[in-house]
């Protein structure tokens, strides 16, 4: 095994035994680290590897959250199955957005705007559907029934969150190693050159978006049963979309470890600043912290933290 693999195995072991010593607050912090690492990793497939910047991934979280919650509340379908239905609903939306955007050749900034618009449209539509609770939102009655994805003990959320993070990382690793990964990277570098080499760029971009949206929709289900209430502004809002893409961007987009590292940097920061800077005059101050950090990353680590760290380690090995 390479040193990197040993490190990953050791880190995984620590994460597996950590709940034994963590208090409730500590568990919550880690649950959000895993959750955003998972969402960031899902985003990474289309935004990182394929370089198609989506700033509307909240749309998939929202569609996934509402789908699974509605199916459970109205039809009694367990979210254990509902999360896959949620994934499929989000994937369908992702496919639609990708087709619209890529078929008509939207790139860069214009694609960003399209994804933002789609998330906003989802938010506005949900706001006016009474069956989904409208502006009040959808509330899930807490029963503590594990079969209905409800847990008294937040250690359950911890392990499910960890499993989701590993799942998305496994999917991203599979993509990275396959033909699809090579093609997505080629598309990110130069789409026309990729076309000339036989890459069906439209198909692969749509595929990346669909896989990414499926995972993100599953994440929406996890969110619904962590928070137990869904408001359109919270699950479809621009702040969530930004939260999702910031992890891989800060950690290193288009790398396997980037979203995880980014989440370990940003999620605790978000938690802490939310806890200490949320009252009265300080409301919204955590966004300032985010902003400053983001400017720092763009200025000093434009590739993200992970590629920088890797170079640093490689230099250490050589000396």
């Amino acid at each position: 095994m390479t040193p990197g693999r040993w490190l990953a195995a050791a880190a995984l072991f620590v994460l597996l035994v950590l709940p034994a010593v963590l208090g409730t607050y500590g568990l919550t912090v880690f649950i959000f680290i895993f959750f955003y690492a998972f969402l960031g990793q899902a985003w990474n497939i289309v935004g990182g590897y394929a370089g198609q910047l989506s700033a509307g991934h909240a749309a998939f979280v929202g569609v996934g959250a509402y789908t699974a919650a509605k199916l459970a509340i109205t039809y009694g379908l367990t979210p254990w199955i509902g999360m896959f239905v949620a994934g499929m609903a989000a994937a369908l939306l992702g496919l639609g957005v990708a087709y619209l955007g890529f078929r008509f050749g939207l790139r860069g900034f214009y694609f960003v705007l399209l994804t933002v618009a789609v998330a906003e449209i989802c938010r506005l539509i949900t706001l006016h559907i009474d069956a989904l609770g409208g502006a009040l939102g959808l509330f899930i009655t807490f029963t503590g029934n594990p079969w209905m994805f409800q847990f008294q003990d937040s250690r359950a959320h911890y392990y499910i969150g960890l499993a989701l993070m590993l799942l998305a990382t496994g999917v991203a690793a599979g993509v990275e190693r396959s033909r699809m990964g090579a093609y997505l990277r080629a598309i990110k570098e130069d789409e026309e050159a990729a076309e000339a080499l036989g890459v069906n760029t439209l198909r692969y971009k749509m595929l990346a978006m669909t896989v990414s949206a499926f995972l993100t929709g599953m994440g929406g289900t996890f969110y619904a049963y962590l928070i137990f209430s869904l408001q359109p502004a919270a699950v479809f809002g621009i702040p969530l979309s930004v939260d999702i893409l910031l992890r891989p961007v800060v950690g290193g987009s288009g790398t396997l470890m980037g979203p995880i590292l980014g989440s370990f940097i940003l999620s605790p920061l978000a938690e802490v600043s939310r806890a200490y800077l949320s009252g009265g005059a300080w409301a919204g101050a955590h966004l300032v912290v985010y902003g400053v950090l983001l400017i720092g990353v763009v200025l000093f680590l434009p590739q993200g933290a992970y590629p920088y760290l890797r170079r640093l380690l490689a230099r250490g090995d050589a000396s």
Binding site: R179, A182, A193, A194, E195, L197, N200, L202
Partner: protein
């Protein structure tokens, strides 16, 4: 056997007739040179053949099948590969990864594609640079990479767009040898080139374009003596230097 048949091809950009009523054929195994002054429409012809532009008129038939309306990737998979005059390597990927993208067109498994890519890289003489990022290559190396990527898609017809421009005499010589070898292995070549030494050495036939239309066609030795070609492209200097 006839590999490519271009008939009455036309492309307009606004009021500019970039290509007008162009017809020619390519036989299997041939090397055909496409020459002419800058702006004559040579690269436009490549873009039309490879699916990057849609013709306003006429037809392109490859192995009897019309290519009009097909996407570039579909045309590549049919066996027609091109290079870009303004080279477009994937700058952050290594040379090997660049060529691998081309090889994946015929070998869907990454392992097979890598093997194939390595063979092509040795072929063009870039094995020393296999793991270097493509963005850091010299001009001559980038030209080799451009050809390697196209070759990795295992084309029956290779369109080379000014791959020898800007190379020194030694490099040009090596490139001529490379094209000759590739052709000897059964790849038909359509060559856009300003380096007349290469055109003369390689082409069996030459077509001369000027203002989007063909002004001459024939054996290289004959074409360079054609007064219209001298007037439009080569100039008196070239003729005197040859004499």
């Amino acid at each position: 056997m006839r590999l490519l048949e271009v008939s009455a091809l036309a492309k307009r950009f606004g009021g500019l007739e970039a290509v007008t009523d162009l017809s020619f054929t390519l036989e299997e195994g041939e090397i055909l040179g496409l020459i002419g002054p800058n702006g004559a429409g040579k690269t436009t012809v490549f873009n039309l053949l490879s699916g990057f532009y849609r013709p306003d008129g006429g037809d392109v038939r490859f192995r009897g099948r019309s290519l009009v309306g097909l996407k570039p990737h579909a045309i590549c998979l049919l066996g027609l590969a091109r290079t870009f005059q303004i080279m477009r390597p994937f700058p952050h990927l290594s040379v090997l990864e660049n060529v691998k993208v081309g090889a994946l067109a015929r070998h869907p498994h990454v392992r097979d594609a890598l093997e194939r890519a390595q063979a092509v890289i040795r072929r063009v003489g870039l094995e020393g640079k296999a793991h270097a990022p493509a963005g850091g290559l010299t001009l001559a190396e980038r030209k080799r990479l451009e050809v390697a990527r196209a070759l990795a898609t295992e084309p029956a017809l290779l369109l080379l767009d000014e791959v020898m421009a800007g190379l020194n005499a030694t490099e040009t010589g090596r490139f001529i040898e490379l094209v000759r070898q590739v052709n000897a292995e059964g790849v038909t070549v359509l060559l856009i080139e300003h380096v007349m030494k290469a055109v003369m050495a390689l082409s069996r036939r030459v077509i001369v374009l000027n203002y989007g239309a063909r002004i001459a066609e024939g054996l290289p030795e004959g074409v360079v003596r054609d007064p219209r070609v001298i007037e439009a492209y080569l100039g008196e200097e070239y003729t005197r230097a040859q004499a």
